[in-house]
Structure formats: C-alpha cells, structure tokens
C-alpha cells in the first residue's frame, strides 16, 4: 500500500496527470480530515481550505464548540485577562472557508481503509489525515493523583473549566494558606507554562493574601527562562515562593487528594490548593491510531510533519515528536502551515515550498513585566533543529518589559486570527 502510494506521488511530482488522476479525482474533491481543532488543527484546516479555494474537501473534527486557549489562561488566573476572551468558536472556519466542522470525538482510525470513526458513528474517509489532538496525562505519574481527582487537585493544563476552578481555589484560599504545584517532567506542553502560572498565583496572593506561601515541587534540575523567573520572583514576590528541586526530593512526590497533602520524599505537607501537572504524552487518539512510539509521542519527519508510521498521516503540535521545537501553540501553528503546503502539493499539485519553522513564547511575571524566548528552526535528516534563538535579558528596564508584554497581546490576537478568522 505504502509502496504503491509512493509510486503515485513520484508520478505526480513528475507531472503525470494519468497517475495522479485516480487518487485526486476518485470521489470528487480530495478529502482531508483534521482531528482536533486546537492550535495545530484549526490552523491546518484553515490554511488547507483557504489556500485551495474550494478544491479540497476539509473536515475538522473537534468535540468542543468553543476552544479555550491555554495561552493566556495563566493571565486569566492572574486577573489580567477575561475568560470570555480565551474562548473562540469555529463559526468563521465553516462559513468563510467552507470547512465541515464536525463536533464529535474521533474514536478510531483505520489506516488501511483510510477512515476515521467518530463517537457518533460516522465514518469519514480521507486521502490525507492530519491529527493534532494535543496531550493526555500519563497515568500514575504522580502517585495518588488521577483524572478522577481533578476537581480537588486541578491540573488546569487544558484550559476552560479547570482553569476557572483553579482560579476560584486560589482566590478563596484561607489566609496564610499554602498553594502547591507539582510541576511536570520533560517533555511537556509549554515549557515556561508552570512558572508563568507560579508568577500569576504569586501576583494574586500578594494582593489578596500576602502571608500565603507557594510551594513549587519540581522534578527537573532546570527550567525554561529560569534566570528571568527567579529574578522576577525575588523582585516582585520576595520570600513567597519556595522551589523544591530534585536535589531535595522534588522528583519523588505523591499526593493525597482527600487529605489534601503532598508527600515530598517522605515529608508530608498539608496544603490548601494543589495544582498537579502530571507527566504528559500524545493525545489518546494518536495512540489508538498506532502512531506513537515507546515514549508516548508520535514521531514525524522533520521536513513536513509527516508521521514516520504512515505517509498519509501528518501529526502536529504537542502530540508530535519532532526534535527541538518546544510544545507550544506557536510551534503547532507554524508546523501546521508546513504540513498544509505539503498536502496541497500532493493532492492538488500546488507548489511545494521548504519548511520554515519558528517559535516565540512570552510569559508574564508580574504587572507589565513580560519576557520572551524564541528561535527559528530547520529540518535536518534527523530532527527539526534549532537555527538560532533569542531570549529576554535579566536586568532589562521596565519600559522594555512592558513593551514585551504589549507585544504578547499583539501575538495573542495575531495567532487566534490566524487560526479562526
């Protein structure tokens, strides 16, 4: 099957209409199914539909009617952003770009038959499949915690009601109480995300509950933008945040959601709010489709995000194992454009352009104190590799930090427009 398809592709590349015809014209317009309407999936669907001007039949499968971005959900926790402004609907993708938006779960992929089965029973055939399902948690990575306990100890690592819950818990914490976070091991979505969250919680507590304490239990030696965060914490929230790294048992943690305790290397701490961010892996559907490796991620080819398991399938965003790009909304959006161009080339003979990957992640440390890190990337034989990066500097003046924060708002508006309008 794979070999046969390769032949077809080679034919197309050489401009052979005869060989291309059956694949392309078979049942009318070529069909692309996109699973997951988040950063990767919504971008891919939009670019596929928009740039093919109706020549592709694009179906987007996404269970929720409103996508709440994880980006800026920490700012919502901190009181800098409204929940309503985190939510985005799929109306424009359907109305303006002619995408079939199906609000359902994909529950199975038959890669031989090239079909996707939905929970509602529909079976969708595809010529190319794009999957961008984000992450799921690794069971038992934090002993004592399971998804069933997420109301007592929220993860808030998929945005929406979990974020609301965590915010309410922080705001209603008893005076002088303890907020604990169990940070995840690498790799996980949004490397600076937990630390931006710590900053935002500290901001709220400093204003509402200044004698409260923050306990950051971290299995990692180092973390993203560490110097910038630590400088900011010392300046804005002196004495409030205690980080327990692996050298003090931060990598040997269990929790008891009923008792509201955290056991750190044998020392039991009573806590008032506990944000558990477990270890992560590719979203479940990637496993069901047989696209994942032993580590739980879906390996892809660096040139175009094509699955290493199946060359009719592309995996985007957090779920993919691609190399150096961090798991971020920016990365997923960037990868989606590369995959969309490749798919249009294969199905419609559009010009094929080389991959251009990039990422920038902003974080807010305190009011008007924004920082950023970013890089450009290129495919090598082995992985997507960093070309060159940049990062905010410690000791920058307040005006520059404010400008960096304002820039992040510009980016937020830019990326959601790039996904949903």
């Amino acid at each position: 099957m794979t070999i046969k398809r390769r032949t077809v592709l080679a034919g197309m590349a050489a401009g052979s209409a005869v060989l291309a015809a059956p694949a392309v014209m078979g049942a009318g317009r070529p069909k692309v199914v996109v699973i997951g309407g988040g950063s990767g999936g919504a971008t891919a669907a939009r670019y596929l539909a928009r740039d093919s001007r109706g020549a592709l039949d694009v179906t987007l499968v996404e269970p929720t009617r409103t996508y709440y971005t994880c980006y800026f959900s920490n700012l919502y926790l901190g009181g800098f952003w409204d929940l309503a402004d985190l939510g985005h609907s799929y109306g424009t993708l359907a109305a303006r770009h002619g995408i079939n938006v199906v609000h359902d779960w994909a529950i199975g992929v038959d890669r031989d038959a090239q079909t996707v089965t939905l929970a509602g029973g529909d079976v969708l055939p595809y010529d190319r499949l794009v999957i961008s399902p984000g992450i799921d948690f690794v069971e038992d990575s934090v002993p004592g915690w399971s998804v069933a306990a997420q109301n007592r100890m929220p993860h808030a690592y998929k945005a929406g009601s979990q974020t609301e819950l965590l915010k309410a818990q922080v705001e209603n914490m008893r005076e002088g109480g303890v907020f604990a976070m169990v940070a995840p091991p690498n790799p996980y979505r949004c490397p600076p995300g937990p630390y931006e969250r710590i900053s935002m919680v500290a901001h709220v507590l400093t204003e509402r509950n200044p004698t409260a304490r923050i306990l950051l239990v971290d299995p990692k030696e180092n973390f993203s933008k560490q110097g910038l965060f630590e400088e900011g914490w010392a300046r804005h929230y002196p004495g409030m945040i205690e980080r327990i790294g692996p050298d003090f048992g931060g990598d040997n943690v269990s929790v008891d959601p009923e008792a509201m305790t955290v056991d750190i290397d044998g020392v039991v701490e009573e806590v008032d709010v506990c944000n558990v961010i477990p270890a992560q892996q590719a979203g479940r559907i990637a496993h069901l489709a047989g696209l994942t490796n032993d580590a739980g991620w879906a390996p892809v080819l660096p040139a175009d995000m094509r699955s290493r398991m199946d060359d009719k399938v592309f995996v985007l965003g957090d779920a993919s194992a691609q190399g150096d790009m961090p798991k971020s909304g920016f990365s997923a959006n960037s990868q989606a454009k590369v995959a969309a161009n490749t798919i249009r080339h294969e199905l419609l003979d559009a010009r094929l352009f080389p991959a251009r990957y990039a990422n920038t992640c902003w974080s807010l440390i305190a009011t008007d104190d924004g920082v950023k890190v970013g890089a450009t990337y290129e495919p090598t034989d082995e992985k997507i590799a960093t070309v060159e990066g940049f990062i905010s500097q410690t000791g920058e003046d307040a005006e520059l930090r404010r400008q960096t924060f304002e820039e992040s708002i510009g980016w937020y508006n830019g990326i959601v427009a790039d996904m949903f309008t």
């Binding site: 670019y47 920016f330 959006n333 960037s334 454009k337 161009n341 010009r351 352009f353 251009r356 990039a358 920038t360 950023k372 970013g374 890089a375 450009t376 070309v387 060159e388 990066g389 940049f390 990062i391 905010s392 003046d397 005006e399 520059l400 400008q403 304002e406 820039e407 992040s408 708002i409 510009g410 980016w411 508006n413 830019g414 990326i415 427009a417 790039d418």
Partner: protein
C-alpha cells in the same frame, strides 16, 4: 517625493561594503563633559574646524552649513540648547533614541528606543539618510539627505556636540564612516508573490493580515521598497528588536522581496 520615486539611490543600507576611512580617528572634545541639557557644551558659534582630525570623518565646516540648512529649523545644539520641533541634539552620539524626558516623541521611536536603538555613527547615518526606513512611524518630517558625503560632513559636525568620543564605545575611536548601500540589484528583485504568500504565513502569527495593530505594528500595504529597507535594517541589526532580527536573519534578499510584494497587495 514618494518613497517609490526616492527609489534606488536613496535607499541605502549598511549591507555590503564597509569602508572605514579614518582608522585612528580621535576627535578632541570641545570643552568639559556636558550634561544632557547642554551645560558646558560649546556655543554653536564657536565651534569651527579647530579639530583638524575631524576632517577624517567629514568636512566639519561643510557639515555646519548643512546643519543650518537642513536641521536647525527643528533642532538645537550647543550651550543652552532646548527642545524645539525636534529634540535637542547635544551628546546625541551614544544616546538612546527617544531619551529626552518630556519631549513628545512618536510611538514608533519610543518603541525602538526601548528595544535598544542607540545613536551611533551607523544608526544616525541611516536615520538621516531616510528617517522612515529606520523608524517607520517617526514624526521627523524630513525627507532625508541622499548624498553620503554630505551625511559624513554633517555627522562630523554633530559629533562636536557629543561627549569625549573615546568615552562612547560605539561612537569613537571606532566612529568611522561606514559607506554601505543596498545595491540596486537588490532593490530590483521582483518578488515572487506566491513564495511571499507562503513565507508570510510565518509573519501572520504575529502581524495580522487585516492590518490591525495592537502591540505589534501593521505591515500591510507598505510601499515595497520601504518594506525591503525595513527588513534589511533588522537583518543587519541596524533596527533593534531581538525577535525581528532573528526572523530577518534567515531571510535571503529574494525572500524579502517576495514578502514585500505579497504584503503590499495582501487582501484580507
């Protein structure tokens, strides 16, 4: 004059040749170190070509004439200089852009000052040559000084009102005349719009297609040559801003032309 008609000769940027004319150029400072307000700065009338080695940078006497003719309507320099239509320019070498407190600068130059734009020979040369190329939204309504020799002369004169040059690392003893231009071939590249559209997808994560600008400026419907110059200015590090420099550094001349062509005619 529109940007388009300024055209080839006007749009010069430090990309290609770097001709250092004055190797060991040391300008003697006229008088004691001045405070920003111009205390101790020389009286404008007293400064003449009594600093012979300055000639290596440019002809100060000619620079002074150019100053009177081109700049003095809006700027003051020298003892007691005050802000006018433009800010006072004492000690401008080594000064952060938009650094004079209370002067009503444009948002554009304020932004670039925060990004780190500092006035050195190189950045001043670019700003005076074409203010909009360096600072897109500058309030300085000055069409630019096209001739490179004129600019060298003018800057030699302005230098006299800056501090001990040796104390200003970027300025001197390394202040040299940097004669650089964007060769006409580069400006003549016809952008491949389809390639530009693909490349532009990298930009639209931040810059909105519909031209909305909140936090990040709009880049749609610019004259192409202005766009090209701005991108080269990031690529060469003349415009500060780590993110845009990072993005621009991997763009080839053809890529920039393609992007300019696409964004100039983008329909939302």
């Amino acid at each position: 004059m529109t940007m388009n008609s300024l055209g080839r000769s006007r749009l010069r940027l430090p990309t290609v040749s770097v001709a250092a004319l004055a190797a060991a150029l040391v300008l003697a400072a006229p008088g004691p170190a001045a405070s920003d307000g111009g205390e101790g700065a020389p009286d404008i009338a007293q400064v003449t070509t009594t600093f012979p080695r300055a000639v290596a940078l440019g002809d100060v006497e000619h620079g002074r004439e150019l100053w009177e003719f081109e700049c003095a309507a809006c700027h003051e320099m020298g003892r007691g200089a005050e802000d006018g239509i433009g800010p006072q320019l004492n000690r401008v070498f080594g000064r952060r852009a938009a650094a004079i407190a209370d002067f009503p600068y444009s948002d554009s130059i304020i932004r670039m000052g925060r990004d780190g734009l500092t006035w050195t020979y190189r950045t001043l040369d670019a700003y005076i040559e074409n203010p909009y190329a360096l600072v897109s939204g500058t309030r300085m309504s000055y069409p630019g000084l096209e001739d490179a020799d004129d600019r060298a002369d003018l800057l030699a004169f302005i230098r006299l009102y800056s501090d001990q040059p040796a104390d200003i690392p970027e300025a001197e003893p390394t202040a040299r005349r940097v004669e650089v231009e964007l060769p006409p071939e580069v400006l003549e590249i016809r952008g491949d719009r389809e390639w530009g559209e693909y490349l532009a997808s990298e930009c639209t994560t931040c810059h909105q297609r519909d031209g909305a600008a909140a936090g990040i400026p709009s880049i749609t419907h610019w004259p192409e040559d202005r766009f090209v110059v701005a991108m080269h200015a990031y690529r060469e590090g003349l415009r500060p801003h780590s993110t845009m420099q990072n993005i621009a550094r991997r763009l080839e001349d053809e890529d920039i032309a393609a992007l300019a062509a696409y964004f100039a005619t983008i329909d939302d």
